[in-house]
């Protein structure tokens, strides 16, 4: 055995380093090359550098205010999301109760819905003539609706929590379940209770995953687009919204490029802070074990009820409002007509999308995206987890960049960069899952990395000493410990594609319509029936996703404990 080891290790090392080139190459070809192409065309259209965009940035109070608002709402959204998700994660990790895993699976649903549809759901609930206002007006005999949230910061924050709460909840609870409860038990025995238990024991234990979730939520809300545009209204603008206006309406590419760079710069600064905080952490994971137990006593039951109640109120009520609206005609007439109409091409139109085809296309893109993102994300996370390498600290933010890059900018980059064989992909359907994978990869990396870093090195060392091959070590030690994170990452990668995130909206698309595309088409023409059908299609999107999430959960395999 000793004779074999020197022969195996260099070979395996080379293979491993070769593998690591794959995600880097992917990023180089499908991200950096298009991004640099569009930036150079924008900033030096005639070969001469035009920095007028930056000059305007510095001198204009408007852009300064836009930047401050972007930052401010992202910080608020992140704090709110984590503040609500942390107790939720506690409940879902510690207690077993009926419907727990179903709730956890379905919690991701908000993530796939187009903002226009979410806005419709919110209007149905808390709009001027929504359920809540009608109720309060009736109860208190008011003349005007008391809740006026349209186009306010409040509704932006609510929507951001709506979209991101599930992300934080899933990431944190997935990690927590793999943490040894022994430290906490010891602390309890020593008399540590209440706030001190949270502050001195739980939060430090969860710090890696809280930071990872915070980083994702922050970037997501920092680059928020649809929520700001539709729910916030035209008075609010993030950098992403301003980039869109500059690039599309005004075709002021130097300005759009300057703003894109500011956005990327801000994200890099945030990642630098994150990496610093992250690297100070030593974690220790152990294979999943049963730490959830049924609740005892009144207080624990109230705690569960409060968190589940919040989820229902925040996540599921708007979704139910959509389903209800898709089944209603007039004031309160029940109808399945919108669903029937979806399947009939009344006008023999080429615009028509058969629902089966939309579901098929969406699923195909989502599965390809998920597999690509998991494959590339796993390799990336493995590289980044080797803590001794300083390179990892430099590389980590690079893999987050696609999430922080404006979709318009990258979409335009594809148009000009991927136009020659062998990369003539501008009009290829392959570009769609590729664009989705760029956004999906960071989710896999962030979900898996904290777990990978938490694996005690001596565990792997011991396995190697006992003669395990690198593959066996990975299979027997790493995989079981990262499995939960991997499932969470894979689910979100799937969801990112289902919801059509990222640059795919801004590339030329051949006729492979997905469910969100069908929804946008229906909402693009006047007529009550089109609106009804758009809501019906949204409901189908939710159902398809819900079923898929449950199937992905099953991949977890037997013997992994319930979660």
């Amino acid at each position: 055995m000793d004779r074999n080891r020197p022969a195996v290790r260099p070979g395996a090392g080379a293979l491993r380093h070769g593998l690591l080139l794959v995600p880097l190459l992917f990023l180089a070809v499908f991200f950096f090359y298009p991004l640099l192409s569009i930036l150079s065309v924008s900033l030096a259209p005639d070969g001469q550098l035009d920095l007028s965009g930056f000059a305007a940035l510095i001198t204009s109070a408007y852009y300064r205010d836009t930047f401050i608002f972007t930052l401010w709402q992202a910080v608020l959204s992140t704090l709110l999301t984590l503040g609500l998700a942390l107790p939720g994660a506690y409940v879902f990790t510690r207690y077993s109760f009926t419907g727990r895993s179903t709730l956890l699976s379905l919690a991701i649903l908000p993530f796939v819905l187009p903002t226009v549809v979410v806005a419709a759901a919110f209007t149905a609930l808390i709009g001027p003539q929504g359920v809540l206002n009608t109720l309060v007006m009736g109860l208190l005999g008011l003349e005007t609706p008391p809740i006026q949230l349209q186009h306010t910061l409040t509704i932006i924050l609510i929507a951001h929590v709506f979209y991101n709460y599930p992300l934080a909840l899933r990431m944190i609870s997935g990690y927590w379940a793999n943490r040894s409860p022994r430290i906490e038990e010891a602390a309890r025995v020593l008399g540590c209770r209440g706030w001190r238990l949270w502050w001195e024991i739980r939060l430090p234990i969860l710090r890696p995953i809280i930071l990872a979730a915070a980083a994702l939520v922050f970037i997501f809300t920092f680059t928020s687009f649809g929520v700001i545009l539709i729910l916030g209204g035209p008075r609010f603008a993030t950098l992403e919204v301003e980039i869109f206006r500059q690039a599309i309406s005004l075709f002021n590419l130097p300005m759009a490029a300057a703003l894109s760079l500011v956005q990327i710069g801000a994200m890099l600064a945030m990642m630098a802070v994150y990496t610093r905080l992250q690297s100070q952490i030593a974690g220790e994971l152990q294979a999943a074990q049963q730490i959830a137990r049924p609740p005892h006593g009144f207080r624990e039951k109230v705690l569960i009820a409060a968190n589940v109640g919040l989820m229902i109120l925040l996540l599921f009520l708007p979704l139910l409002a959509l389903v209800e609206r898709s089944l209603t005609v007039g004031v309160d007439g029940f109808t399945t007509r919108y669903y029937q109409l979806l399947t009939v091409n009344t006008r023999q139109s080429i615009l028509f999308v058969p629902p089966i085809e939309a579901v098929g296309n969406s699923l195909l893109f989502a599965v390809v995206t998920m597999l690509l993102a998991v494959l590339l994300g796993l390799i990336t996370a493995t590289l980044l987890a080797q803590r001794e390498s300083r390179l990892a600290n430099w590389l980590d933010p690079l893999f987050m960049l696609p999430l922080a890059t404006s979709a318009v900018t990258l979409g335009f980059g594809y148009i000009i960069a991927l136009d020659e064989p062998p990369l003539n992909l501008r009009t290829s359907p392959l570009l769609i899952p590729i664009a989705h994978t760029l956004v999906a990869m960071p989710f896999v990396v962030r979900s898996v990395l904290p777990a990978l870093r938490g694996i005690p090195p001596d565990l792997r060392e011991a396995a190697r000493t006992l003669g395990a091959s690198p593959w066996q070590v990975w299979r027997q030690i790493d995989l079981p410990l990262i499995r939960r994170g991997l499932i969470v990452g894979a689910t979100f990668a799937f969801t990112v594609s289902m919801g059509e995130f990222g640059a795919s909206v801004f590339v030329v698309r051949p006729e492979t319509p997905t469910m969100p595309v069908a929804i946008y088409r229906l909402l693009g023409q006047p007529g009550a029936a089109n609106y009804g059908q758009a809501l019906a299609m949204s409901t189908i999107l939710m159902v398809v996703c819900a079923v898929s999430f449950m199937l992905i959960e099953r991949l977890r395999g037997a013997g992994m404990g319930e979660f």
Binding site: A120, G130, R235, S249, L250, F251, R347
Partner: protein, 355 residues
């Protein structure tokens, strides 16, 4: 085992995508267009059968996104024909030298007013009027007169009733801004000194709501269609009322919405098709342009895209003839003037209305 299954799944999925990549030998004409492009399957199929040309449709976002992509890729165009550039963005496309001139023989039927480019680099296909739409039931129940001019909208009786689109992000929003510029002028030194910005300030005073795109304004805020909106006046199209009837659950006795077509309240958008510079299928492209002007296609358009044909020989479908009002004196504006001031007007509007 599981790894192998996953790899297999990846390969199978990639293979499933492959047929879409395959191309055959006959002439395939690639048409770049916006997301709203529509036609009847059989009308398009008849063209393909008659000519032996395969038409491939590529959609690229809204009209603005599409034009910008075309300008960016002008060295190596994405397709052979571009359809859907309108008069508010036309100069941007012409200045970038995107098109090869082609004078279709069918143009002789088309009224002069639609032919904006004397060099025929682009050919008009259809037009649509951006007009105020109203919720008929609301105005009847509240016994409110309909506004008859833009100035009427500043009357307190219409306080909080109007929703418009942001001209910086929406094409009808921009069209409506242009109407106000045309009606009230942009020059402070003229006559009464009341400019479009003063008008907008008065609208803000009257609690105008600005939505960022048409879908949100129409389905989210307007009370006359399928959504839960509360505002009975919206900036939409003169063709929206027939669409409401056409897409109604049951044919209604009267149209649920109407459009206001008084002189000086509507903006005429004209959509064009052009042959992209660099095409290898010039003849097929010219055939396609002729096809778009043909009576078959022109009669198909109204119920597909809710626009009006430029070919006067095309007959309107019944629902259009009954429910669509065509404004007698829509606002038109010189395309060079639009291009020269678009950014400045939008910027000034933003300062006045949103800040």
């Amino acid at each position: 085992m599981k790894t192998r299954a996953v790899l297999l799944l990846l390969i199978v999925s990639l293979l499933a995508l492959a047929p879409a990549l395959a191309q055959d030998d006959s002439v395939t004409l690639t048409v770049i267009t916006h997301d709203s492009f529509a036609a009847s399957e059989d009308v398009l199929a008849a063209f393909e059968e008659d000519t032996g040309i395969t038409v491939r449709i590529l959609r690229s976002g809204d009209a603005g996104t599409m034009v910008n992509q075309a300008v960016l890729s002008r060295e190596n165009p994405l397709g052979d024909v571009l359809y859907g550039v309108d008069n508010t963005f036309l100069t941007r496309a012409l200045d970038a030298d995107l098109f090869i001139p082609y004078e279709s023989p069918l143009l002789e039927n088309v009224p002069e007013e639609f032919i904006l480019d004397p060099e025929h680099r682009v050919t008009p296909v259809d037009y649509g009027d951006v007009c105020l739409n109203y919720d008929a039931a609301y105005f009847e129940e509240n016994d409110l007169p309909l506004p008859e001019s833009l100035a009427d909208l500043t009357d307190p009786i219409y306080d909080g009733l109007l929703v418009v689109e942001n001209p910086a992000t929406s094409s009808p929003g921009l069209a409506f801004l242009l109407v106000t510029v045309d009606q009230f002028g942009a020059d402070e030194d003229e006559e009464d000194g009341y400019t479009y910005l003063d008008f907008w300030a008065d609208l803000v005073e009257n609690d105008v709501l600005v939505a960022d795109d048409w879908s949100d304004a129409y389905f989210g805020q307007f009370s006359g269609s399928g959504g839960d909106g509360t505002r009975p006046l919206v900036v939409s199209y003169a063709s929206s009322p027939p669409a409401e009837v056409y897409f109604a659950e049951e044919e209604p006795e009267a149209a649920p919405t109407g459009s206001i077509t008084a002189p000086g309240t509507c903006f005429r958008q004209i959509e064009f098709v052009g042959i992209l510079n660099g095409t290898e299928h010039l003849e097929a492209a010219q055939q396609f342009v002729d096809f778009m002007l043909s009576v078959e296609f022109q009669e198909d358009m109204p119920l597909q895209m809710f626009v009006f044909p430029v070919n006067p020989e095309a007959e309107l479908p019944e629902v259009f003839a009954t429910y669509a009002a065509i404004p007698e004196e829509p606002v038109t504006m010189d395309i060079a003037e639009i291009d020269a001031h678009r950014e400045e007007w939008i910027q000034a509007w933003t300062e006045t209305v949103l800040r």
